[in-house]
């Protein structure tokens, strides 16, 4: 039952991020870091994804989009918030149109702070999320047994 850990596919969404964290996340896919070593693929399709990587604090316009992506992902799924904006809203926390952190909209499992978050810490956060993915799968199994 350890296959979830060996092939985590992620979907990446920019929820009003300045693009700094996005660039750092995409840097993880380049030859220098090459996260495909761990079987990680950037899918772009919520129905194929296991990990929702989200950068930027969610604003009023893309709140619906974030919810939509989250709801379309099949269980088990985890959410990784990349960058300080996604974690708490950062310097934009008080803005009139921002929700102030992704966790105000959808449940977040791993927070990766930084402005912008370094590729090393992003990889670290995603690896941490794999453990949570396993836990969620076990909970799913228990539910099925009890139901």
């Amino acid at each position: 039952m350890a296959y979830l850990k060996k092939s985590p596919w992620l979907i990446h969404y920019n929820a009003s991020s300045c693009n700094g964290c996005d660039i750092e996340l995409l840097a993880c896919l380049t030859p220098l870091y090459d996260v495909e070593r761990f079987g990680i693929i950037n899918t772009g399709n919520p129905k194929h994804a296991d990990i929702f990587v989200i950068a930027g604090s969610v604003n009023d316009l893309n709140r619906e989009v974030v919810l939509n992506i989250y709801n379309q992902m099949p269980d088990p799924k985890v959410v990784v918030a990349i960058g300080i904006c996604a974690c708490s809203g950062g310097v934009f926390a008080q803005c009139y149109n921002l929700s102030g952190g992704v966790d105000q909209v959808i449940p977040v499992d791993v927070y990766v702070p930084g402005c912008a978050a370094r590729p090393e810490s992003i990889i670290d956060g995603i690896v941490k999320s794999l453990g949570i993915l396993e836990e969620k799968k076990e909970k799913m199994n228990k539910k099925e047994v009890s139901a």
Partner: protein, 286 residues
């Protein structure tokens, strides 16, 4: 003439061989891009993971179509490796693809719609050449049966060089390699989100993946038929062919669907058809 044993061996071994080929493919691709790449068994991990995921099917009928797709793809290979009629193999092969197109249409999403339409274009593009391949083999060996062609003493490739070049081109189309990966891409998850397979997830997506492994083995089996007179040479050529396909995949960017159409019919007309005309007017001593 029909051998059930080889068909059963194919049904059991083809997913293993096809998955390994996919793993080597990903590793080689990564190396060509200067990366380390995933483990060799990564395709198996992916399929195993997909089977662990939740089922979020919206339209129930799409799962039935995909089941039909994998069944007919397995039947195609079983017929082929049992030594059956090559024309029947091609018919089952086409039928399998009709089912995946129906599945994508059933899903009711703009991305899978465009993916399905493009898959139909791909079907049209490769079909003439694959039939010319079967006809060419008949002209050389005097039989449509795979069991006869495979053990034929005739050096098929010497008489059908044009057909072989044409077949290699449609092999690129069939293996979903750039520049022809217009309906859904093989490696990168980017074309039209994921084109044909956008709406499939979990174990249904795993079935599509396994069916593709079955398909790869059949297609490489057709390459074998060109070199049936020397099995060792045939295996070497299959290896070279596949590495060449990976090289092409990494060298070219994706083209428009018009280009796929022109290329598919272009090679069928020039290389395939002219080869057959020459063969027809200068008959062999068979």
């Amino acid at each position: 003439m029909i051998s059930v044993i080889t068909a059963v061996i194919y049904l059991i071994l083809a997913p293993l061989v096809g998955g390994l080929i996919a793993g080597i493919d990903r590793k080689l691709t990564a190396r060509m891009q200067g990366r380390v790449g995933p483990p060799l068994l990564q395709p198996f991990y992916d399929v195993a993971k997909l089977c662990e995921k939740e089922d979020v099917t919206v339209t129930e009928s799409q799962n039935f179509y995909i089941l039909a797709y994998i069944v007919f793809m397995a039947v195609t290979g079983a017929l082929f490796f049992a030594g059956g009629d090559l024309l029947l193999v091609i018919f089952a092969f086409t039928l399998a693809h009709v089912f995946i197109v129906l599945g994508a249409y059933a899903a009711y999403s703009p991305y899978s719609y465009i993916g399905a339409e493009r898959e139909l274009i791909i079907l049209m593009a490769y079909e003439p050449m694959i039939i010319l391949t079967a006809v060419g083999m008949y002209l050389v060996t005097g039989s449509f049966y795979v069991s006869d062609i495979a053990v034929s003493e005739m050096p098929v490739i010497m008489y059908l060089p044009g057909v072989f070049v044409g077949f290699l081109t449609i092999l690129t189309i069939k293996l979903r390699k750039s520049p022809f990966d217009i309906s859904t891409s093989h490696h990168g998850h980017q074309e039209l989100v994921k084109g044909l397979t956008t709406e499939f997830s979990g174990s249904t997506l795993a079935k599509i993946e396994v069916a593709h492994w079955y398909e790869t083995v059949v297609l490489l089996g057709i390459v074998y038929l060109f070199f049936g007179f020397n099995p060792l040479l045939a295996l070497v050529v299959i290896a070279i062919t596949y590495v060449l396909e990976i090289f092409v995949d990494n060298t070219f960017s994706r083209m428009k669907w018009q280009w796929t159409m022109k290329e598919g019919w272009g090679v069928a007309l020039t290389f395939g058809f002219i080869n057959l005309v020459i063969l027809y007017y200068f008959p062999l001593g068979v």
